[in-house]
Symmetry: C2
Subunit: 222 residues, 2 copies
Amino acid sequence: MEDKETFNHLPHKTIARLSQYRRALLLCLSRGKSHIFSHEIATIQHITPVQVRRDLMLIGYSGTLRKGYNIKELIDLIANIIDSEEGIKVAIVGMGNLGRALINYFSGKRHKLSIVAGFDTNPDKIGNVMNGVPCYSADRMREIIEQEGIEIGIITVPGQNASQTANELVAAGIKGLLNYTPKPIDVPDYVYLEEYDMITTLEKVAFYVKMRNTEEKIREEE
Amino acid sequence: MEDKETFNHLPHKTIARLSQYRRALLLCLSRGKSHIFSHEIATIQHITPVQVRRDLMLIGYSGTLRKGYNIKELIDLIANIIDSEEGIKVAIVGMGNLGRALINYFSGKRHKLSIVAGFDTNPDKIGNVMNGVPCYSADRMREIIEQEGIEIGIITVPGQNASQTANELVAAGIKGLLNYTPKPIDVPDYVYLEEYDMITTLEKVAFYVKMRNTEEKIREEE
DNA sequence: ATAACAATGTTATTTTATTAACAATTATTT
DNA sequence: AAATAATTGTTAATAAAATAACATTGTTAT
């Protein structure tokens, strides 16, 4: 009921942008900046200043005229919205290249969001620790997830195993899933699912490159 | 000018879905299916049948009543729209875990979109061939890109090198860029840029998990 | 002191994307 | 042969997202 507190009315796109604003802000802060204008954030993110101000309006943050937004305050507010106070634990299933890449990205950067376990079926990998993340046998998924209180699962197994992995994660009580395989998976409504498909992204780029090429060709023919 | 031929009026989201439809269709075809209903595609992709039919309407494809859509025809039409006839060559800059993961994903799957070169600065990697993709020294980026006619670049270097890598790719004449680092980059207008940020995606999942958790807590307190 | 300027915050408008509604058509059942 | 059901294709309505417009307010320059 209390919108002000839960922020559950925020547009999906705004959530994504807040995460990005925060990263830009952290960078600016580390460079000694204390305030920032909407147009500066906008330039970094390739969007318009209006969009930035609108997003900030939605989360109820006010800057000061002629000085802009207080970076530290804004970071804290965004953290307040996105992060959960107690932190959330994440598991990665599939310690191949992609799984390892994600662990590298995250290791030690977010304190409220930590990858605490990896799973794989390859005996060579089981027992290893990568960047502080132990790799367990996939058989122990349920056990470890329950024991550690892991709430989010990232699926980076080969496509053909995606759906079974998802089922196991759901059975283990996971609440959010991020599927990096190209195979769409099914989960119950109470699990939040984000599918991210690398092939689609590349094909999209290819489409627009093709389109511009043909447009150019047409222009030349005229 | 000729919308029917260039399909340059298609909504961005439709393009992305077409790529996904195609993959679902290829899978069905390989299983011996010849026709498919809109609601079948919809179920696979977690969307509504109306959405599917609307997308297909936009690309001018008609199915047959009571039989659905001819899978083979539809695959060919989508290929016609998305793929470019001569094929497009892709380069990956940064042969770390993520770069290698992408190469594994793509190797031999798409014939019209092929990764033909990788670049890195690590001498241990230069000269190796991974899944058929040779790894060159980053110094030779321009040379190889021009020589091979590579049009798309994928950036999987560490964040701090992202912007310089982008500049080099643009200078080499690349037309489309896919940035997988968490640092937003700048490119001229004539280069199509897609930024994809893994951290944002995970933070988004975390936000919705948190939101559902707090909603649940509120409900329990009542 | 006043004018010009450069910001923010908010409402209004437009654009884009999704969903609903439904007519048309054909296969199947009674 | 008529009724029913299942499906497509398309238009209309709704919802979501982005952009524009603009009033407001300090700051700086004249």
